[in-house]
């Protein structure tokens, strides 16, 4: 494969070019369109929301948000807001994990149907508070 290094370099440049990328869009006669090389990279959507304290509805800054089985992560700003951009072909139902690294608030794991959730409002309990269902 080493001998194809130069070709692979130019190939990468061709794939990145909007004009020539069509060369790499493959589709078997009876197969589906392949978005692996182009569309999947560009088609994204954003999920945003606000994290507040359940006790007094104050916004919570610095809450870390991760999503299971992915590398996505972000942190809420001083107003408790977060915004995360996901790849279009990721799951609709994703497990969002909200963690307060100071330990004051309980970790919150929630499965979010992000397909239909442009805005998420999350409330977190104080760590020692009795869990409210």
């Amino acid at each position: 494969m080493e001998k194809h290094k130069t070709y692979k370099f130019f190939r990468g440049m061709l794939m990145a070019s909007a004009f020539t990328s069509m060369m790499f869009v493959m589709q078997a006669c009876y197969g589906t369109p392949n978005n692996a090389l182009i569309d999947d990279e560009v088609l994204e959507y954003t999920v945003s929301g606000k994290v507040t304290a359940k006790s007094n509805s104050e916004p919570l800054a610095g809450i870390k948000l991760t999503i299971d089985s992915t590398d996505y992560e972000t942190v809420t700003d001083s107003l408790g807001n977060f915004s995360i951009t996901l790849n279009a072909s990721d799951y609709c139902d994703m497990t969002f994990k909200f963690v307060d690294e100071s330990g004051k608030y309980q970790q919150l794991d929630t499965i979010v149907p992000v397909c239909n959730s442009p805005e998420l409002n999350i409330e977190m309990d104080v760590n020692n508070a009795p869990k409210v269902s």
């Binding site: 069509m22 692996a36 279009a88 990721d90 799951y91 609709c92």
Partner: protein, 349 residues
Amino acid sequence: MLQRFHNYFRRKETEIHELNYLFWECTQRCNLNCRHCGSDCAVSSAYKDMPFDDFMKAISPLEQRYKRNTVLIVITGGEPLVRPDLADCGRELRRHGFLWSIVTNGYAYDESMHRKLMAAGLSSITLSLDGLRDTHDAFRKRQGSFDRVMNAIDLIANEKRLPTYDIVTCVSPMNIGELAEMKQLLIAHKVKAWRFFTIAPIGRAVTDDGLRLDGAQLKQLMDFIVETRKEGRIDAKFSCEAYLGKYDRKVRDWHYFCRAGINIGSVLIDGSISACPNIDRRFAQGNIYTDNLLDVWDTRFEKFRDRSWTKVGKCADCKVYNNCLGGAMHLHNIDSPEIMECHYSNLMH
């Protein structure tokens, strides 16, 4: 000039042969009994569905070699929607970094199925529509098939999170006169991509002469695609089944290139490792139950990557052989290297 550049590109792609499009024939069961079926599947199959664990075990070496989101697993059949665990299979594929898609007749694709598959990260889908109501139902040999597939089309055409999809039509003498009306129908239903192929003399279509286009009808189809592309209201294109001479770049985005065995592989229902599932199964190069999929991909597939064996019969003296390389692999069978059907010569005469 552009064709020469393409031929160079095709040669280099063949040399590096990255596997990034893998069919999985997960079942041979089907809920329809279509007149033109290329896989000749059955309502009650001789084979059981392939256990997902067997497939996952076979493809796990791909996970080590290829980057996340660069290999598409195309789930086909039979009819993949008859598998009760389809969404679970898809979800697991996403978890391992594969994109996944399905080719379906749409009969069982209702809103609940749509939600389940989207939630499992479906990234592409192809639905078959073979005519207006009466023609489609006659092709599919089941009343109500048209209404069901139109319902499925509405679901996917209105789904913002589906990165890509298309509608395919097998064009035959039965539906060629309906294409203009079908185009209006699809545009009205917000469909963005429409792909055409002709019916190859394989599967059930071997014994059904009424399904094949003659030269004049083939030209009519090409002219229709050219005109539709010019209008720009729907992305119409011809499939990768043949080199088409002067029509080649006019009915597709790029030149003809049969990537079977070059970028396209398959795991068939019995574990055979091959390329597109509609290719003569005797071209299989190994079996996942006895061989390592990547070893087979790396070291075999000679007949797919060196097509010089196809330069016989009518191809032997053909002046466009270098552009065509003997046509698509599914138009050959292992007993006779000569191509079964040549669209280029049909168009020329």
